[in-house]
Symmetry: C2
């Protein structure tokens, strides 16, 4: 098993990516190829005593976090994220992990590996830790303007992902809307509903924003604009809630006593609200396994993402994805 | 000052609406007209010792929470929510407060009072308690499929509301999108941006879901589909976070000690996360003042909504709204 890690991607590259990779290689006993500027990466590796299982693959360029993704991927042929996907194409690596420009990761995945047969639009899935188990939100940002077929295919891809990688059996799928009745929602949702109803998928109808946390549904489908707003909102609220709790507790004597006693519980609470730690979002619909991490990922988030990548490869994500029917009828 | 309260609206009508109204009348010293089935409402009032300032206005019908709003409003001419808005039209009441079917409240407001001159689509604003002050999200559910002009007008209405009722001076306005760069966002956002840039409004560009909590922007504009998803998501996450915190603390001895010491701080924390308590969302763009409350509102939420209605009337919300320019050029 070899995972290609984009060493130049992320707000604190290459430090964080290198540290995450070193930890993952040591804990998981897998091979990792760090893709990036050799000199910079080797200098960073020098800080670590154990770099077994780690190799460096040099490239001359990197996509910056704020660069327009499509243009950058087209122009920078030797960008680390492109080179990482090329390692997968050549069979050298089994998956790509990147905390870099997520648009560039998506574009590179599509350009280098291509889409799976039948998939019109690859999508990014995000796995939320719901109260009753995982909840998958798809798409969280790859496709801002969607047609009903796209939203249908997102559900098919998430179904394949959930079945093969998360151990879900015939996972329930809901369409993110603003009311449970079928008549509610925008035009896109109303048109998509029929496709799901005709399909063999376990479609349970419309769901609402609150269901991302309730866990009453396992897969929630939406367009990438709505999904990205939802993802960013959850992250922002998680941070705000953590700050609010500290402020409330610090504002009184008894509160400060509670902080002292409850330190461990409160830290665990904060960690669970910190979605950045969960280790990245799988890019589904391309001819390979790719994981997109938050730009602000910590080393442990990178390590977790590498662990997930290994898990997805071992579970045969790609093989399961290839078996899916992405259209309801052959002549569509 | 007289506020018309829809006694038949809400999941626990008429108990909650009546109790909220009784509390508001006593605390604020204003007149309240409870609109609903006289016998039911009078029976409920009998539980309360002080019903000064409260009158009952009888009507025969009520819109149920799960009824299709437009059809119900069209067919039930004597529905409590229609009758309440009619009291405003006749000059008997100054504003309407309802925890009933929000679609029916919106439709009744538009049908009975009409839209303000120049307003194409009335919208529902939600006021979030951000860390640095209030953040207004508009629209949170009135309009699921929008054109750029609609999104522009939402900002104009929120500007008038924020200036007159929340004491904001030239409030900053952001377009909810999935990245701050102007090139990002879906087609609707990209087309709307130009309208704001040409306007005299204090437009600061695109903002992200996390900004609802950061307070770095005062007004956030989006279509009603995205806004409603965001609202429901915040509510759901608030509830989930509260449960998670309890679970974490109860799971250890020291956590239980922390619960004991921090009871007051933790209760304050939970209240701040409970958006339902904030007292309702103003319906903007109609010829009158209307407040839409959560169906699960508590009596204190109803009381708060009545307080807000009084405040908005006193601050001249409607007069300020009428002064706004809803189009950039006269020939639009």
């Amino acid at each position: 098993m070899n995972i290609a890690v984009d060493a130049m991607g992320g707000d604190r590259a290459p430090q964080v990516a290198v540290l995450g990779a070193v930890q993952a290689a040591s804990e998981l006993g897998i091979d990792i190829t760090l893709v990036g500027d050799r000199e910079t990466v080797v200098k960073e590796l020098a800080y670590h005593s154990s770099t077994d299982h780690i190799t460096v693959h040099h490239c001359d360029e990197a996509v910056q976090m704020d660069e327009p993704p499509l243009k950058a991927v087209r122009q920078k042929k030797d960008a680390s994220i492109r080179v990482a996907f090329n390692l997968v194409k050549k069979g050298i690596s089994d998956a790509v992990v990147s905390a870099g420009n997520s648009g560039a990761t998506l574009a590179s995945g599509v350009v280098i590996l291509g889409r799976l047969d039948g998939v019109e639009r690859p999508a990014i899935a995000s796995v939320f830790p719901g109260e009753k188990g995982y909840v998958i939100l798809i798409d969280v940002g790859a496709n801002v303007d969607c047609r009903p077929t796209h939203l249908f295919q997102f559900g098919v891809m998430a179904h394949a992902f959930a079945s093969s990688c998360l151990g879900m059996v015939n996972p329930s799928i809901g369409l993110l809307s603003i009311g449970e009745e079928g008549s509610k929602g925008n035009e896109l949702v109303r048109l998509t509903r029929g496709l799901y109803e005709e399909s063999p998928l376990n479609f349970i109808g419309n769901v609402e924003g609150r269901d991302i946390f309730s866990g009453d549904v396992e897969i929630i489908v939406c367009d990438g604009f709505v999904g990205n707003v939802a993802l960013k909102l959850s992250e922002g609220m998680g941070e705000a809630v953590t700050r609010l709790l500290s402020t409330e507790l610090k504002s009184s004597f008894f509160g400060r006593a509670a902080l002292l006693f409850g330190r461990r519980s409160l830290d665990s609470f904060k960690r669970k609200l910190n979605y950045e730690e969960y280790g990245g979002a799988p890019l589904l619909g391309i001819n390979g396994v790719g994981i997109i991490c938050h730009g602000q990922s910590s080393p442990s988030a990178i390590k977790n993402a590498i662990r997930l990548a290994v898990h997805y490869v071992n579970k045969g994500l790609l093989e399961n994805m290839r078996k899916q029917r992405f259209f309801l009828t052959d002549d569509l």
